[in-house]
């Protein structure tokens, strides 16, 4: 049994006999007592049209009683130099005006309107700039991050430009959320996401490092004007995946060490994932990279 199974609230085998329990039988009886009439199909297009009407109603509610809407009798909009927060169309909107701002400013704005959401703008590789790349529910809370969206305004603008803002949208009842959104990294800042460097359009586009030695790949990396850092990994004995021991990371890496993949570490720097010897399977992919990644 692995750890993920151990953290599950129940396993199916613990549920044997539930189908014949009183609750399950009552539910079945209640369901089949009704005609299996299909519900009218929900048409997303129509729902968008409806949304305008709903917006008007919600706006009215917001005016009559903000305490009903956010439960704390606090403001329904707030702005500081980093972010502007307001309600619109049954959602919270947040216009991030300064992605490099002190995180305390985002916190201040959300607190002022009674929203329990933690927003972090973190240096990321270009892949995730302006997008949500991590976060999730704070433990014990129930809502997920899938209802959060971020759009660049104007679309496709460069976040380093002062005219470019990020518009964050999420449901009014969101609570206990932690959101990591990528912003451009400043020189010397490490990326908080870990994108593969060998994919199309990345630092090592067109160059495979997997299963080569450090000595083999370094010349190509240097030729591209990139620097290298290493992550030393301990492959699992079954060949699937690996662990990382933080205490081992300062071990000097030799030219004969084996490279399994490269990640973008920061602007102009790639991180090679290495071991001190060769293994049968690439631990990053549990086998050949070609089985997983289609370039």
């Amino acid at each position: 049994m692995n750890e993920l199974q151990q953290i599950a609230r129940v396993n199916d085998k613990d549920l044997a006999g539930q189908a014949s329990g009183a609750g399950a039988r009552a539910l079945l009886a209640a369901i089949v007592a009704e005609e299996p009439v299909p519900e009218p199909r929900r048409r997303p297009v129509k729902r968008f049209v409806l949304a305008a009407a709903v917006t008007a109603v919600l706006a009215a509610v917001a005016v009559i009683g903000p305490s009903i809407v956010n439960g704390r009798g606090t403001a329904t909009s707030y702005a500081n130099s980093a972010i502007e927060v307001w309600q619109e169309g049954g959602q919270w909107k947040g216009r991030i005006k300064d992605p490099f701002a002190n995180p305390a400013e985002f916190e201040e704005a959300f607190r002022a309107v009674g929203v329990d959401v933690k927003l972090e703008l973190l240096p990321s590789s270009p892949r995730w700039v302006g997008q949500i790349f991590g976060g999730g529910s704070v433990p014990t809370e129930r809502m997920g991050t899938s209802n959060f969206s971020v759009d660049q305004e104007p679309a496709g603008c460069a976040l380093t430009s002062p005219d470019c803002t990020l518009l964050l949208s999420f449901p009014i009842d969101s609570a206990g959320q932690h959101l990591k959104v990528g912003r451009p990294a400043k020189p010397g800042e490490a990326y908080e996401d870990h994108p593969m460097a060998t994919a199309k359009g990345r630092s090592l586009d067109g160059y495979r490092v997997d299963e080569k030695t450090v000595g083999e790949v370094l010349p190509e990396i240097e030729k591209r004007g990139l620097k290298v850092v290493y992550q030393i990994i301990d492959p699992n004995s079954n060949g699937q995946g690996y662990g990382v021991d933080p205490n081992k990371q300062s071990t000097p890496v030799g030219d004969d060490w084996v490279v399994w993949e490269a990640e973008e570490a920061q602007l102009g720097v790639v991180r090679l994932i290495v071991t001190d010897r060769r293994y049968d399977k690439n631990p990053v992919y549990g086998g050949p990279r070609d089985d997983v990644v289609k370039d």
Binding site: N11, A33, G136, R142, D234, G241
Partner: protein, 183 residues
């Protein structure tokens, strides 16, 4: 029109899949009341769409898909407690399911950290890893539940495992990747 054949078929599928669908929902719902609502709504939807319910093993996968969407709607608060199958039946279900929530799983500090890290993953990563570890599904089965291609499942699963591993490392768990393959 409900026919006798439809009813019999539905009862058979219900008996066959109830415990697995219940397990799926209980593992994902924070409270027993929510779980009872989602189980009830999942099967009520299946009954309304009995003509679309596939036969054999695929019925379970299809129901996972329905439960997944029901759960998502529930989280969004759009489901407005659609207890169309009768308040009393769900009330009894509440009691049965509440019992499942009263059990305390064994726990260690490390498992606590793993559980927390797992909860903090992106929703789609967590769902993919859960379908493997908890429901024991393979790539093709997950593809059916999620309505995406097998190849997409393979790639997304790989990325999810990678992000989970990175998150564990950041959380200080020097644990190795889990054997997250299905048995």
């Amino acid at each position: 029109m409900s026919t006798q054949a439809q009813t019999l078929r539905f009862e058979a599928v219900y008996a066959e899949t109830y415990e697995q669908i219940l397990g799926y929902v209980v593992r994902r719902c924070p409270s027993s009341e929510d779980a009872a609502d989602v189980v009830a709504e999942t099967y009520a939807t299946a009954w309304r769409r009995i003509d679309a319910l596939p036969h054999g093993e695929e019925a379970r996968l299809w129901l996972y898909g329905v439960a997944r969407k029901t759960l998502a709607n529930h989280r969004r608060g759009q489901a407005r407690r659609q207890r169309r199958s009768g308040e009393s039946s769900v009330a009894e279900l509440d009691v049965d399911i509440a019992d499942l929530y009263s059990r305390t799983p064994e726990s260690t500090v490390e498992l606590g950290t793993i559980a927390r890290t797992f909860r903090e993953l992106r929703d789609d990563d967590r769902e993919l890893l859960s379908l493997v570890a908890w429901e024991g599904l393979d790539h093709a089965q997950i593809a059916m539940v999620m309505g995406v291609s097998r190849n997409a499942v393979r790639i997304r699963l790989h990325r999810a495992r990678k992000r989970f591993s990175q998150a564990l490392t950041s959380a200080g768990v020097i644990a190795h990747h889990f054997a997250m393959e299905s048995a």
